[in-house]
Symmetry: C2
Subunit: 193 residues, 2 copies
């Protein structure tokens, strides 16, 4: 059976989410993997879920999908602020706790510190690492909070970044494909052991 | 042995982080729990960690602490944007995947939708649920992305909110104490089963 990979990312909020996820699945397919997204229904949803709020059903569906997947690839492009989409970050932590490979990519290569300083409207030449509330701004040269890059590193994954134009940054699949390629290599190596 | 609870939240970025965490530990202590934070050193850190980058050591330490704890309480107060601190969100997802209780609190009761609309500078009377990139803004009446509240609900935890003044919102421990009280009740009930 081909390994399943959970496709985490805020593309689910795009009006054309289904089309983007169909393309992501096609990329996975080319590398022998099955792409799974939170938008995919499940055949095994308990009847009791029908009585839950929509957001609870969506949550339980996503969680069940993650548990059923062999790995996760996260779109960590900054979303409405200096950090990645929190739903995606939650899913990344969840999959890392299961001990399976997690990989990520981002459509910006600008470090987290610089992006945070800009988002907070602090001086672009700021060398201080404190925000307006006197709270420390992480300055490790990473692309987001250290837990994100730390989790990917601990899982042996990769985190790929490249500056992409704002237009099309949610639909360009170049970095995603490189993650899929790397994941296929990792899973093949594990299968041989 | 008293149950250990991981104290997740962006207070670690405060200049007075150690003092706040000491107070949180004292609250835990009053309810028979041991509070553990990412700032706490571990006696079992492998010698090999000394060769890693600081951010990798911090990550591995936090992860080891979470695995050693029986539950997690997250400070989900919005941090530098409409959502919670991403490191905290990662840790919440991680602990939920381990199947242990997760609870949270936030110093604002304003729903995520309203906060996102305000942060993006959209019209305060906006009824549209799309942002400037045409991407959907969640409108479930929740306090953050549905994965956050969904995970807490699935774990049987509580998510407490109250509007608190900006000054002191990182140091007021009223909501935190109510989470600790609830967690102590949950863990005691489980111990009896």
């Amino acid at each position: 059976m081909r390994p399943r990979v959970y496709l985490a990312g805020p593309e689910v909020f795009l009006p054309g989410a289904a089309a983007v996820l169909t393309k992501k699945r096609a990329v996975c397919e080319r590398y022998g993997l099955v792409g799974v997204s939170g938008l995919d229904p499940r055949s095994d949803e308990p009847a009791a879920w029908a009585r839950l709020h929509e957001w609870q059903r969506l949550y339980l569906r996503n969680e069940a999908h993650i548990r059923d997947c062999a790995a996760l690839i996260a779109n960590l492009t900054p979303f409405r602020g200096p950090s990645a989409d929190p739903g995606t970050v939650y899913e990344l932590g969840f999959m890392r706790a299961l001990g399976r490979p997690v990989l990520g990519y981002s459509a910006t290569a600008t470090p987290f510190f610089e992006r945070t300083v800009a988002a907070l409207g602090l001086s672009a030449s700021a060398t201080s690492t404190l925000d307006g509330e006197g709270m420390l701004i992480e300055q490790f040269g990473l692309i987001d909070n250290l837990m994100i890059e730390g989790g990917i590193a601990a899982a042996g994954g990769v985190l790929l970044t490249a500056d992409q134009p704002a237009a099309g940054r949610w639909t360009d699949l170049g970095l995603f494909e490189r993650c899929v390629m790397e994941l296929a290599r990792v899973l093949a190596a594990r299968a041989k052991r």
